[in-house]
Every structure is written in structure tokens, then in C-alpha cells.
């Protein structure tokens, strides 16, 4: 009967997810179709690139089977850990279940079953898509059956490890917490060793089955551990910041306009959520990665495509896109939905909707000079490229910043996600579509000037400036549309 209850709760959760997804799909059918097309394009690109890289004889770029399996393991482990935190240890609504006549183990099973079901479904869809595309595109890569066996076993292990790590990290007493986490974290090292050693396939399979069994034993630890972890996480002592954000005082002196006050509020929140530190960290990390790549491959790596000259500019472009996506595009998608039920505060203020939109935009753009300065300049200086190239890449990154912020803020107003349980985070479909849309549109803005740059430096730079102007105009138009959409938002919840 006990297990029956966990299944009943699990099926209710699944039904809720199904209803939410189908509602969204029927609300935006074109967006759904576009998402499927983009997903297939994305998988095809990865397969083609993997096939191409396998033909190169560059050790640094060579990706082995073990690397792929470990990356997938790490991805699902992180995902399961984060989903456990959001769905359980930060989920105050579980109090209704904890105060009901339901066994604690049933609640734990319900939470884990949901994570297991959702991620295995995601894996099955991805594997089916990749398999279909593999045959359709006639990809010349050898993949044996054991790869898939190991893949599924690794994902199950990753979900268990992620769930258990999240639970252990919330244990109330420090010493048992650190000892158990220290011991259990060794399973991650073991996964690395087993996926990278030259082991027999059957041995790897057996090892993974043993690891899953051990993880299940940790998972089935007394229910009180799970209960204590939840209580500690929900109602345990927390530290709240009282630090003032000094740059804000300078910012306040500069302007008293309402949109600056909106920006001030946004920046304060981002500062306290430590997003500002993350922005600087990401920029520094990417910059170091690029320099490291240069020292590994040399100034003109031979890729056999005659693109040696453009290898680094392409890599810099990809890095800028990554940084812009993490610092501007994805945060911009949460600008309105994160307000959620708090939206009354700004909506009842005597401030024009366009001030709200531009204030939010300003809070995103204020740290963007870091991107061209930290990511583009160091490698361009190392490469000793002509000044026109440096200028071109710098302006191209400005184009990307403009378009990302414009598209992001428009999408945030067009597809806000007011689901309380995700704190304004965009759904996967919106996020993926917007990312791809931004990549494609920005590429179009840069390709034509790039063509001119290859023939005449001055003409190329002039064309990229023109592109930047058009990108700025597009951002302005997208913000105007976002203003209209924001104005029509009603606090009907």
C-alpha cells in the first residue's frame, strides 16, 4: 500500500507536467514545430562536427568515447542534483505531504521517480533522434551496442548520485555531512577512471551495476535522513545580506530618471544573488580558455579545410556567443517572469512601461563591456592580427550584445513563465529557440561585412559598423514591442 501511495503521487505529478506541457504546445504550435526543427539541426551539427573532428589528427581536439560518457554522466548528475534541490529541498509546498498520513519514504520515492522518469524520457528521445539522424546523414562514426548499454547505466547512476549528493549536502550536522559527502563523492572519480581506462566492456557494465546498487543503498538510507535534510533546508538558519552595493551610490548620483531606479532595483537583486560575480567569473574563465587554446594549438592550426586564418576568429565568435548567452540572453528571459506576483510593486508606480523595459535592459547591459575587453582583446593581441580585424571582432561582439538583449527582452515579454515553482526560469523550449534564433540572426548580421573584410579591411569595418547600427535599431524596435507586451500583462493571479 505504501509504495502504491508514492506511485499515486508520482502519477499526479506526471499528469500535472503533461497538462502544463500540452497547454504550452497548443498555445504556441508554431514555436513547438520550430523547436523540433532546431533541435534536429542542433543534433545534426554535433554529429557532423564529431565525424569531422574524428578525421583530424590533433590530440587536443580528439574526443574519446570515455569523454562523451563522462560528460553525459556529469550533465545528468548536475541536472538531477539541481532538480532534487528545486523539487524537494527548496520546495516549501512539500509541507502538505509531510503533514499528511504518508510515509516519508513514499515522498522521497515520488520525488526521485519524477526525476528518473523525466530524464530517462529525455535520454530516450535524444538517443532516438541521434540514431535517426545518424542513419539519415550516413555519419561515418563507429558506435557499438555497449555504448548504449553503458550510456543508460551511467545515466541511471548519475541520477542516483545527483539525488544522493543533494540529500547529503543538506544533512544538518556538519561532520557527518562532510564525511558522507567526501566518501560518496568518490563515486564520481570512479566513474572517470572506469570510463577512461582500457577496460573490457563487460567489466565496465558490471562495475556500473555495482555502483548503482551501492547508490541505491545510500538512497534507501533511513527516511529520517531525508526528512531532516528537508527540514534543515526549508527552515534552517540562513544568513541574509545587509551589505550595501557601493557602485549603486555612484549610479544614483549620475541620474535620477525612473528607468535608472528600475535598473538599480534589478542590479541590487543580481548583486545579492551573486550573479555579478558569476558574470566576471565566466568572462575570466572563457578568456583563459581561449589563451590556453592558443598555446596548445599555435597561431595557425592545420584543420585541413583551408580555414586556418579564420580558426581563432571563429573560436572567439563562439566564445563571445557563449558569454553573451550566459550573461545577457538567458538572464533577460527571466526579466518579467521573475517579478511574478511581485509585479504589483512596479505596475502601480507612476512610471512608463518603456522606462521599466529600458531600466531592466540597462541592468543587463551595464557589465557587457567586460565581454569584448576580456574575451576578444587578449587573444587578438596575442595573435598579432591587423587592427582592422580587432575592430571588426569588437564591433561584431557589440552586434551580438545588442541582438541578444533585444531578442531576449522581447521573448521575456512574449513568453513569460509565471510558474511559481521555477521562480521565473524560462522553459527549455523557449530558451533553446531563443538561443538558436539569436545565433542565426547574429551570424547573418556579421557574415556580409566579413565577406567585405576579406577583400578590403576598411570596407569590412564600415559594413560591420552599419550592421551594428541596424542591430541597435532592431533592439530598439524589439524593446518597443516588449513595452507593448509588458503593458498588456495583467496581474491575474
Amino acid at each position: 500500500m505504501g509504495h502504491g501511495k508514492s506511485l499515486v503521487m508520482f502519477s499526479k505529478e506526471v499528469l500535472g507536467s503533461y497538462r502544463a506541457t500540452s497547454k504550452r504546445v497548443f498555445q504556441h504550435p508554431i514555436m513547438t514545430a520550430w523547436f523540433i526543427i532546431l533541435l534536429m539541426v542542433g543534433f545534426s551539427t554535433v554529429l557532423i562536427m564529431a565525424e569531422y573532428v574524428s578525421t583530424l589528427e590533433i590530440d587536443f581536439l580528439l574526443i574519446e568515447r570515455g569523454d562523451i560518457l563522462f560528460v553525459i554522466f556529469f550533465f545528468f548528475m548536475g541536472k538531477a542534483s539541481s532538480e532534487t534541490m528545486d523539487g524537494c529541498y527548496r520546495n516549501n509546498r512539500l509541507k502538505h505531504l509531510f503533514t499528511s498520513p504518508v510515509k516519508v519514504s513514499d515522498i522521497r520515492n515520488m520525488v526521485f521517480l519524477k526525476i528518473l522518469w523525466y530524464n530517462l524520457l529525455l535520454l530516450a528521445i535524444s538517443v532516438s533522434l541521434v540514431t535517426g539522424l545518424y542513419h539519415l546523414l550516413r555519419i561515418d562514426l563507429y558506435i557499438d551496442g555497449f555504448f548504449f548499454l553503458h550510456l543508460y547505466l551511467l545515466v541511471i547512476a548519475a541520477l542516483l548520485v545527483g539525488f544522493n549528493m543533494a540529500t547529503l549536502s543538506n544533512i544538518n550536522k556538519k561532520i557527518p555531512k562532510y564525511i558522507s559527502m567526501g566518501i560518496y563523492a568518490q563515486s564520481i572519480s570512479l566513474i572517470w577512471l572506469i570510463t577512461h581506462g582500457n577496460h573490457h566492456y563487460l567489466f565496465v557494465s558490471l562495475f556500473l551495476v555495482i555502483l548503482i546498487t551501492l547508490s541505491l543503498l545510500v538512497y534507501l538510507s533511513p527516511s529520517s535522513v531525508f526528512m531532516d535534510a528537508w527540514i534543515k533546508s526549508i527552515s534552517g538558519s540562513k544568513t541574509y545580506s545587509t551589505r550595501s552595493f557601493r557602485p549603486m551610490k555612484f549610479f544614483r548620483r549620475c541620474s535620477k530618471k525612473p528607468f535608472c531606479r528600475i535598473a538599480e532595483k534589478e542590479m541590487l537583486e543580481r548583486w545579492r544573488r551573486k550573479e555579478t560575480t558569476a558574470v566576471l567569473g565566466i568572462a575570466a574563465f572563457i578568456s583563459m580558455g581561449l589563451v590556453l587554446l592558443y598555446y596548445q594549438l599555435g597561431p595557425e592550426p592545420d584543420l585541413g579545410l583551408g580555414l586556418e586564418e579564420y580558426f581563432y576568429p571563429i573560436f572567439i565568435g563562439m566564445s563571445v556567443f557563449l558569454a553573451v548567452s550566459l550573461q545577457i540572453l538567458i538572464p533577460s528571459l527571466t526579466l518579467f517572469s521573475r517579478e511574478g506576483r511581485r509585479m504589483w510593486a512596479i505596475k502601480t508606480l507612476p512610471v512608463a512601461s518603456e522606462d521599466v523595459v529600458y531600466g531592466k535592459l540597462l541592468s543587463l547591459l551595464i557589465f557587457t563591456p567586460i565581454i569584448p575587453v576580456f574575451i576578444v582583446t587578449p587573444l587578438m593581441v596575442l595573435l598579432d592580427y591587423p587592427f582592422a580585424y580587432l575592430l571588426f571582432v569588437l564591433i561584431s561582439s557589440v552586434i551580438l550584445i545588442f541582438l541578444s538583449s533585444g531578442i531576449g527582452i522581447w521573448a521575456a515579454a512574449r513568453f513569460p513563465n509565471f510558474d511559481d515553482s521555477v521562480d521565473g526560469a524560462p522553459d527549455v523550449m523557449t530558451m533553446y529557440i531563443v538561443l538558436m534564433m539569436c545565433l542565426i540572426i547574429s551570424s547573418l548580421f556579421v557574415v556580409i561585412p566579413f565577406f567585405f573584410l576579406t577583400t578590403d579591411h576598411v570596407l569590412g569595418v564600415l559594413f560591420v559598423i552599419l550592421s551594428a547600427d541596424i542591430a541597435a535599431l532592431s533592439t530598439f524596435l524589439l524593446c518597443s514591442r516588449a513595452t507593448q507586451l509588458y503593458e498588456s500583462m495583467q496581474l491575474d493571479m
Binding site: K238, Y240, S241, T242, K256, P258, R261, I262, E264, K265, L268, E269, R272, R273, G340, R341, R342, M343, W344, A345, K347, T348, L349, P350, V351, A352, Q490, L491, D492
Partner: protein
Amino acid sequence: MIEVKNLRKTYGDFEALKDVSFSVDEGSIYCLLGSNGAGKSTIIKIITGLLRASDGEAYIDGIKVGDNTEYKRRFGYMPEEPHLYDRITGREFLDIMGTIRDMDEVLLNESIEKLAHELEITGFLDIEMAAYSKGMKQKILFANAIIHGSPNLILDEPTSGLDPRYTRYIKRRLKRLSQEGRAVLMSTHITSIAADISDMVGIIHNGILITEGTVDDLLAITGTENLEDAFVEVIDGTR
């Protein structure tokens, strides 16, 4: 002055508000009294511009709601649920909201200190609001509604989550504000609060403003001795 004319709000086939009209004069307190789900919050959200009416109009000091942002300068608002920004402090919240309303910086700081002292939240003012209890959040919301001295006050269940001492404080404060000439519109389902401070009471049920008048008028019409009995009598009379 707050005026509502023939307000209607529909959600598909469901009619949440049916032809609601009333007005709140300067220097008076109007209580919208109704059961849960009667439509009180819907009316307040429409007047504050958070929801759009399907039909009808609302005016604040003669300015039509929704025309531009000017009407928003004419009222202070306190929502029913204390949804506030977790990662900013109470002082920062009041400060940002006040400066957007063009309050003088010195006056704003003085007002924050004074209100914080009155509401006994001085010690919490510089802590992120995530650490606040529901009652403390209610106090911040009340302070935010009155700090800028707008001529109209719109309060949705203002005493929810407050202990009897602060319920009394809020009642007295609202009475004083109305005596200073402000128009106060508040919703509540607590009849004793309505009886204590309101100049006019409007009883709303299933989206219809069934009756309105002073407390004495309502007692006389229903032939009852207190507002709670009058309220029950009016609601039961509709069945």
C-alpha cells in the same frame, strides 16, 4: 476621490464582476465587505490598473484609470498578499519606490525612519526581506502605501497577518489619514474592522454590489444589531 462606474469583469463565461458602481469621497473610508471570492480584490486590481475591466470605468481624482501613468501618482496601494523582493532590504525597497515617486531624498529618509519607528521595524530595515515574517512584510507594505502622502489609499485586506496591536494601529492611522482629507478604499472580510472605522460600507457578493451605506444605515435596513449580523442577513437574503 475614487469612482467606479458600471464595472464588469468576465473570464470566458464566468462573470466575476457585474455592473459595480460606487465612489469614495475625500476624507472618508469606504470598506468593501464580502466573503472570500466575492470580487473585492478584482475591483481593487482594476482600480489600481493591475487588471483590465471587461466593461465600465474607474477614475482616481477624475483621471481615468489606464489612460496614462498620471493616475498612479494619485494613490498608494497595499496588496492582499505580501509578495516582496526577497533580495533587497526593507529600506532599499521603500527608498527605490519613494524616489520613483519623486520624493525629496531627505524627506524620504526621514519618513522611512519615522514609519519604521512607529511600526517597530527599525531593527529589520537593513536586512533582506527574505528574512521577514508575514507581519513584517505587511508593515513594509503599509509603510510603502502611505509614505508618499498620495491623496487616495487603496488597501486590500490591510490587517491580514497582523497582531491585534498593529491591527489597532492601522485602524487608528487610517482614521487619522481620512481626517486629513484622504480617500481610503479598503477591502476586508472582517466585519469588526469595517464597523470600527468605515464611513461607508459596500457589501459585495458573487461580483454584485448588493447594498451600500453607513453602518447605521445597514443596521436599520436589516433590522440587526451589529454589522456581522447585517452582513449575514444581506448575503442570506440573496439566496
